[in-house]
Subunit: 195 residues, 2 copies
């Protein structure tokens, strides 16, 4: 029992979430969010760097989780397989949060501001994965492309998962990776068959 109600950050997130759901991201003001949480605008900005960030609080934790999973993968695996495995585990962790994920996706789609923030978070995740892969024997270029491919597959699978209640995330991820490889593969007449 402190001088203040506990969990200010959580209360702010909750308040923001409710207000965004009610009236959309753009029509909600930071002052309103803070007041619903029983705080002031100034305190909001003591907890979040900006208005967008209140919707992306989970992203940093997610990135950390992925890096943890990545460290657990077989060091001899192909980089892209290691990254895909880690992202698959991370995606499975989200299973209980399908409905919030759907709403969040809707919000992001409604605001270019949020789309930009989402893209930079994905880019940050990609860079972190690439860096981790680079600490294996992998050349930086390969690591970067493998990370980008893995995240692209994850993103597609995540979309599918949000849209289809019955789908299993790891199956979606396998399918996405297979589709990606199909799209990237050279046509049969452009590259000699493997020896």
């Amino acid at each position: 029992m402190g001088r203040w109600e506990p969990n200010a950050v959580q209360r702010l997130q909750q308040a923001a979430w409710e207000l965004f759901a009610e009236r959309g991201y753009a029509d909600v003001t930071v002052t309103e969010i803070a007041e619903r949480a029983g705080l002031t605008k100034r305190s909001f900005f003591n907890h979040f760097a900006d208005k967008r960030e209140v919707l992306f609080a989970g992203a940093q934790a997610f990135e950390a989780d992925i890096l943890g999973y990545l460290a657990e993968t077989d060091a001899d695996a192909e980089p892209i397989d290691a990254a895909v495995a880690a992202l698959t585990r991370g995606g499975l962790d989200l299973t209980p949060y399908r409905e919030p994920a759907r709403i969040r996706r809707g919000l992001i789609a409604s605001s270019t501001e949020l789309q930009e923030r989402n893209l930079i978070k994905m880019a940050s995740l990609t860079a972190a994965i690439a860096k981790s892969l680079g600490e294996r024997q992998t050349p930086a270029r390969t690591a970067a492309f493998a990370a980008q491919a893995a995240v692209a597959a994850f993103d597609a699978a995540y979309d599918d998962w949000a849209a289809d209640a019955t789908a299993d995330f790891s199956a979606l991820m396998r399918q996405a990776l297979s589709d990606l490889r199909h799209a990237v593969d050279a046509g049969p007449d452009e590259e000699p068959p493997r020896s």
Copy 2:
């Protein structure tokens, strides 16, 4: 001879470019840009949606060029090859602008705001390419992944090109695509050899 000096947009871009080069993006105010161009803040926002956009005016034209080149590619080519060919031609068009491109890259690297904007422009380009590819016989999924891969290769090649004065863009692009395929390919023991 109009009532006003001509080429307001160009003057604003020029003024912004100079000021950003002098003092960095963050330390320049829109009012300053407008005044150096002989206009007012209000007029700046009549020409550009926001402060960032003054640095990305070329992006829309570039996207249109790429789509044009894409339409000229062989309709029977693999989607990724068509996209790569179009982006290679677009990259070659930039040859005279290497130095500005370098400066621009430095500016973007210095500001997360600009990084976000850059990412969404690349995403827009990717989506436009994917849409165009989808208008061939290509499935949407394949089109999307092919576009993402092609743009990823372009981005890597563009980086290399900005860093190395002597490099030929189409060679860099071929190399990037080859590296990408190497990074995405399954290891030899994970997939049966082609028949």
